[in-house]
Subunit: 337 residues, 2 copies
Amino acid sequence: MPSESRSGRPPTIHTVAARAGVSKSLVSLVLQNSPNVSAQRREAVLAAMAELGYRPDPVARSLVQRRTRTIGVVIDDLSNPWYVDLLHELRPVLHEHGLRPLLADGRTEPDAVNALSDLRVDGIALVGTPSPSAVAQVNELAGRLPVVVAGSREPRLATVDLVANDDDAGARAVTAHLVELGHRRIAHIVGEGEVGLIRRAGYEATMHGAGLAPETAQGDWTENTGIRVAMDLLRADDRPTAIFAANDLAAVGVLTAADELGLRVPEDLSVAGYDDDFFSRMRRIALTTVDPHITDVGREAGEVLVARLSGDTRSTATRLLRPTLVVRSSTGPAPGH
Amino acid sequence: MPSESRSGRPPTIHTVAARAGVSKSLVSLVLQNSPNVSAQRREAVLAAMAELGYRPDPVARSLVQRRTRTIGVVIDDLSNPWYVDLLHELRPVLHEHGLRPLLADGRTEPDAVNALSDLRVDGIALVGTPSPSAVAQVNELAGRLPVVVAGSREPRLATVDLVANDDDAGARAVTAHLVELGHRRIAHIVGEGEVGLIRRAGYEATMHGAGLAPETAQGDWTENTGIRVAMDLLRADDRPTAIFAANDLAAVGVLTAADELGLRVPEDLSVAGYDDDFFSRMRRIALTTVDPHITDVGREAGEVLVARLSGDTRSTATRLLRPTLVVRSSTGPAPGH
DNA sequence: CTGAAAGCGCTTACAG
DNA sequence: CTGAAAGCGCTTACAG
């Protein structure tokens, strides 16, 4: 093992300098690819580094450079796998720029934003609908740290960039799809937070535009609530012939409720969701839904953060990606059509 | 904003000391709850900290203490949501001990272990089947850093703790369940790596014990391969009446293949998986499977790491949690029983 | 092109 | 109980 000195500690620039017969400063310059180093000395230093297995200590570097090359990622709810696709594209963007995600669960860690800020992260990404405490803490940061919100529509602060999909357009598209299939009684299970409100508004606008009466029931983002709410809706005398749930997890709950009540999908009931979660693609589920291009949201959120870190001082903005309607076999013509 | 000094930089122990009229060392002692500080001075320091909004810089602390309170978490494949439940319990354990997970994707980042080690993480958790390069890098670490493997059965190195479920027992339980249902032709779709081999061995042992001939087909952990392999198996003249797939994702592929071929589940074909992934609980899927208690695996992995960091020097060990058979509606009596 | 010095914000012995 | 000093491993002006 050439990588350890006699002291048992990993080599430092000091060790390298001694080995190469130069000063510590010179080693540092080589480390930073400074052009002001003669080829001969550069070679000597590089050779010494290789022999010793030298790896620069990022902690020391962080201390003097005042940046940790670390991004705090606060995920609203680590147990909801919705964030998986988003993280999948966010991480490589950070990685390309020498940044790493430091994870926190916003749900179980109300102080996450402050904690990450104390840790001197270089920036923060809020993934999913942030908790009120997270919003308050971001507000207090007052732009001292770049913050990007990914996949949510709040908070809309002057100091925060936001990347999401156009929830209004998505909700309109899926509602219009159901209207075109001849459905008149189309219920909507409402989601939480700003995203829930926007999807609901898109649904209502489309219903009104078609001369139909909206019918909403409050839900959340979970499958269980989807089951419960759908049960109530479907047991009514004049039950809807279509249900648009605010997300796929809730829509799967609707499927379950329909199975439970002996209703065939889509013959007796059309079901649509939102998010295009990976399980929605399973043929057993085959859910009509809206693809919010969440991996693109993740990538763009990473790019925004990277740009801010490299000095982009343009005013913060909201970027809305255009979502796509994905028609699968959970929706079909209204009964009698 | 009382938290910033005129210089625009956050307050340091120096600022606090000046404000409280004491030396820097004293501030440091207060920070560490040293008993050797008079109540009066302690109060003065605490008050100064509060007024200034002082937050100790963990970077400086890391440099001198030689630990970053950060754990590198290498997830074999960030796009396979299998790890979600594991992370869900691993993170809180770390958090309770002032540690945070620094994420890496083992699949897209072959150098992840070295990179995290260079970053001076205090320990490493390998989640899922590690890549060969990750194994090699862990081997090179030679115990310089505590490493725990969670949810996999490899590598079995003298320097590595391992927490997983008893894949052999789980595979035996699910196979026995199918045998008891009267199935004679039970095929197994084999998974990858050591875990795949162990589950296969459990299946084969149980088949032999029941006087039945094992029938295996090589798969991987994906749904698509599950579909393809199941198609081949089910199109054969003497098709199996039951298929045990090495994980739930592949089992869902089997369900899809069965639907495609017009086979009813479980009347014509019983299907079982392994992992009890969250989608398996959806009533549309309702997969008979093995619950490996992955959240417990995550928690124990975290506890092992924490123990190592607090000086536990007992020889490394493998902990195998007892898995549980979960019978749902995808399995039933063999045709004719 | 190169080296000696100062400093990043802490902690840790070491004296008193 | 308290303070002055050294040092963690780097980078950053600053002289030559």
